[in-house]
Symmetry: C2
Amino acid sequence: MGGRNRTRNNREIERKFLVKWLPDNFKRSRHFIIEQGYLATEPTGRQVRLRKTNKSVSLTFKVARSSHREEREIKLSQNQFAALWPGTVGRRLRKARYEIPWQDVLIELDIYRGRHAGLLVAEVEFPNRASCRRFKPPSWFGREVTGGKRYSNVRLALE
Amino acid sequence: MGGRNRTRNNREIERKFLVKWLPDNFKRSRHFIIEQGYLATEPTGRQVRLRKTNKSVSLTFKVARSSHREEREIKLSQNQFAALWPGTVGRRLRKARYEIPWQDVLIELDIYRGRHAGLLVAEVEFPNRASCRRFKPPSWFGREVTGGKRYSNVRLALE
């Protein structure tokens, strides 16, 4: 996720759910297309990701183990991005992201494009553990898949 | 290596040798300290490396299989580097590099520091395959270790 909320050591607290149906009026939310690809990924969850949106291009280093993550992100210039992007051939994915306010948090609804079209996933990042525990998912959320590898972006990009 | 010579598709032709003894007057050659660390490495040879010298900081994506390599490198700003470098903790190495002209090529002699102190490795990058075949190693070169994983920088950094 975008790295807005961090605990110490750049760790994130977030939960991830499949989506049963698209919520009313979701198209009115702020949204944009995300294209991303992976330069290298380790089975233990270390990864280096390139991402392009309509606003900016970035490189992100992540260590992703269960619900705890370390994340370090830098903005790239267009030239830096163009030099590295070909290294992600065959390891890319595209999705439309909708940012939907819900209670005291922001839900990121990802609608996958391309060969994963039809897959809908929602992520919520929490400012602290208490907020994470308090969270009541909206009715359109399906099964929680936090920490599961099946719907990780790395796996979707590589398969 | 620094990426001076490339065939199509950013592939490099290079050979790597252990070093039996330090050549006469090597200290007069151009030299500098290299500090590098790995954000992520795959067993198949894909890797993302950060490198810092007295001149610049860079991020390099490599696919390294046997004697053929794909390499994509970008210069980073000091801020970009500082944001990513902590992600390489426990996966770093330091060495002094001496650039020694020999016949029509440049030998890169690496003198490792820190826990690999005592290890000496020489690399030669060739402008084309003919030059690679013609190469006669100088007397101070030892066993060729091209393509071997034992002396790869990734392995040295991780062990």
